[in-house]
Symmetry: C2
Subunit: 436 residues, 2 copies
């Protein structure tokens, strides 16, 4: 792997001839200082070094990288075994390793804010300026843009990482299907999925959603009991040991086939997903992929009699967003929302900003697609009381509430896959998992 990461460092240095300091970050205390949350290294660090080394810093200066590591405390061998051998580590990683106290970044060094506050404080001390999680300093924008430029189009090793995450994610969803039954609690389903991750030495890429209340988009309670006739929405993805993410959603019936109303709306969401996936190709603008899903969904809802009117007009007026209020997807890579630590800069690019429209404002991505990009495609249909009962959003007689009432056994449906953009179109990394 060292060759892969060395090549990435070379590509970064070729793009940006400025001193760069990137922290791995540090594990964060849970209930007392020695009881730590699982460590998740910064994705920028993982991209360039390949290994989650707590407390490490990558310095790139004068065209060369150095990895700085803290010296372990004197009694460390008792608790954590023989210390990392710097020479062996340097050999494994293909870059020089030095003790942290030798790190002296030159003035004007660029950096990106660490997610944990302790590392950010250290970063501020070392670079003599403040850092805020999720907020870029104007002087660091060239570094942010260089990282985005590298990470936006995945190299072969990155694609292999995404495929490994996809494989584990599919296996977990298969395990969920086998576990679903009336009387089973949501966290029992999640337990069966997590087992598939953990036994592979992987974890989750984001907190799991397994819920009979699919209309709550980020419902994470996991405490309800499934009942016959429910639809259970499962949005779960693996993260490989070196950080690559999967992100898949399926919506299954519990204890019986879908009712006719459930089956109709499930089909409409599947059609919206298929249309959006078909729209994924080099040169396509992602907002159009989103609008393709919105139009297909809207056409389906018109066919069912839930909406009335011209499809294009309904979408232009955000009437579809009453039922599909989020974006059709996002970048995926080392982060499940890839590079979201850089705000919208990765998803939108410089100069492009989010729409104020209800039907577009939650869209996390609006770039022109290129080969090597990976995105999710995840349309949905939800009955959210807070939206449907909001007088400000009432579409009048374009919504047939009497017909909608017949579909009361559908709370939320989402179908999501991970898609690699290739020269010839969409390569659905998670296509092995049935959708129905």
């Amino acid at each position: 792997m060292s060759v892969v990461h060395a090549a990435r460092r070379e590509r970064l240095l070729a793009r940006l001839k400025r001193p760069i300091l990137l922290p791995a970050g540090a594990p964060q205390p849970r209930n007392y200082p020695a009881n730590l949350q699982p460590f998740r290294a910064s994705s920028h660090f993982l991209y360039l070094v390949g290994r989650p080394l707590p407390g490490a810093w990558l310095m790139l200066t004068d065209g060369a990288p150095t990895l700085y590591l803290e010296r372990p405390p004197a009694d460390d061998a008792l608790w954590h075994g023989p210390p990392l051998d710097p020479a062996k580590l340097a050999d494994d990683l293909g870059l020089p390793v030095a003790p942290l106290d030798a790190l002296t970044p030159p003035p004007e060094t660029l950096s990106l804010p660490a997610m944990d506050a302790a590392t950010r404080a250290e970063q501020a001390r070392r670079l003599g300026r403040a850092f805020t999680a999720g907020l870029l300093d104007a002087r660091d924008l060239p570094l942010a843009d260089a990282m985005i430029d590298l990470r936006l189009r995945h190299d072969e090793a990155a694609i292999a990482g995404l495929r490994a995450a996809a494989e584990a994610t599919v296996a977990a969803h298969e395990a969920a299907r086998a576990a679903i039954a009336p009387g089973v609690r949501e966290h029992e389903v999640w337990a069966a999925m997590q087992f598939e991750f953990t036994r592979r030495g992987m974890g989750w890429a984001y907190p799991p959603i397994v819920t009979r209340r699919g209309e709550v988009l980020h419902e994470r309670g996991l405490h309800r009991t499934l009942e016959a006739g429910d639809l259970v929405l499962i949005d779960v993805g693996a993260e490989t040991a070196d950080g690559w993410a999967g992100d898949v959603t399926r919506t299954w019936p519990v204890g019986q086939p879908m009712t006719p109303t459930q089956a109709e709306l499930h089909r409409v969401v599947r059609e919206a997903q298929a249309a959006a996936i078909a729209a994924v190709k080099p040169g396509a603008r992602y907002r159009e992929v989103h609008l393709t899903a919105a139009r297909t969904l809207t056409a389906g809802l018109v066919d069912l009699g839930i909406l009335r009117g011209d499809v294009d007009e309904l979408v232009a007026d955000d009437v579809h967003a009453l039922f599909f209020p989020h974006g059709v997807g996002h970048l995926i890579g080392l982060d499940v929302h890839d590079m979201e630590d850089l705000g919208d800069r990765a998803g939108y690019g410089p100069g492009r900003t989010r729409s104020e429209r209800f039907g577009l404002g939650y869209l996390r991505l609006d770039r022109v697609l290129e080969p090597g990009m990976a995105v999710t495609i995840e349309p949905g249909f939800y009955q959210v009381p807070a939206i449907l009962n909001d007088p400000a959003r009432d579409p009048g007689d374009r919504l047939d509430r009497a017909t909608l009432a017949k579909f009361a056994d559908v709370r939320g449906i989402r179908i999501e896959d991970d898609v690699l953009v290739t020269e010839s179109g969409a390569d659905v990394l998670t296509d092995a998992l049935p959708r129905v």
Copy 2:
């Protein structure tokens, strides 16, 4: 449960007539701000409120409690469902609920440092003074001591929490036993254990140790493959949804019965544990429990010919600590090292400090035991090269290195259970799990 927590708040108010502000804490970002680590509320907050409410603050003033909660953002219902109903929450918890912007702590309010930096910064802002994780401000010592006084002796609800954690912990270790086989990787064993926690709606109380390198006390790699003839050391404990911890270690042979040398040393550790458990009773000083384990272990090693000399002298000179370099246990409660966020104050009490001796310096607890306290009892035997090859620790001919060499197939053995101190002695909460 509200009655339990109301009674605890009453007991705190009876002990300390000063304004008190205790934060629940906030979930911490993982790889980008919106992707959060699982939330773990402060144990002090959980003890007094009973529910992990992110961003909540408990204020106790003028003899009465109030819970302060942030107002959710406007679009919260879409992502997280209908907001908590403050009136229902107040009813469930048995205390008034108010919006966070109404929180105005009086001057001289006492508090305890939050573990997450964002909450600590908020705490500093609200109280006009700095807080440091794991470090007590002198003016907050009365609050720390009152919390210790409450939490040190577990009430009935606390004991029920510890029993629930113990039950899940035992089930996980049983699952591990069934999973162990040559060729199985450590994280596959952990997967089977985690499954038992997750399906109960529980998590882990501390990062798992499942290792064929038992001599590395905090070995957490989970990446090795078990081989026939190994001993695998498993130190794993559950945490209930409301925060109560389990903490159990077993050491099992892989693929075959223990070899005679493994069996001898495993028996010696079991005997040390049994002797220490027998020493647990009201009035016993925990350091004596530790030394009982040390003496029993030493006597066993003398019998095996590994050590030579008088048992009491060997222990007085810390020769036992060559093989048993850690303490025999610690408090257990809402934290697996209970109240370790208050430093040694819970384990040692005011005025008592850790020994400088190698054989006692790692002991986390040295109180006189009282009914209602819960502790772990976890002696071990390890061959740590960094200790055994340290010339400064060489005990000369009191260590028979030739005999020791015959036991080379033992890297590390630890046997650990959770023990409640009762009027009549030790109640081993995890006794249902076989030790051999």
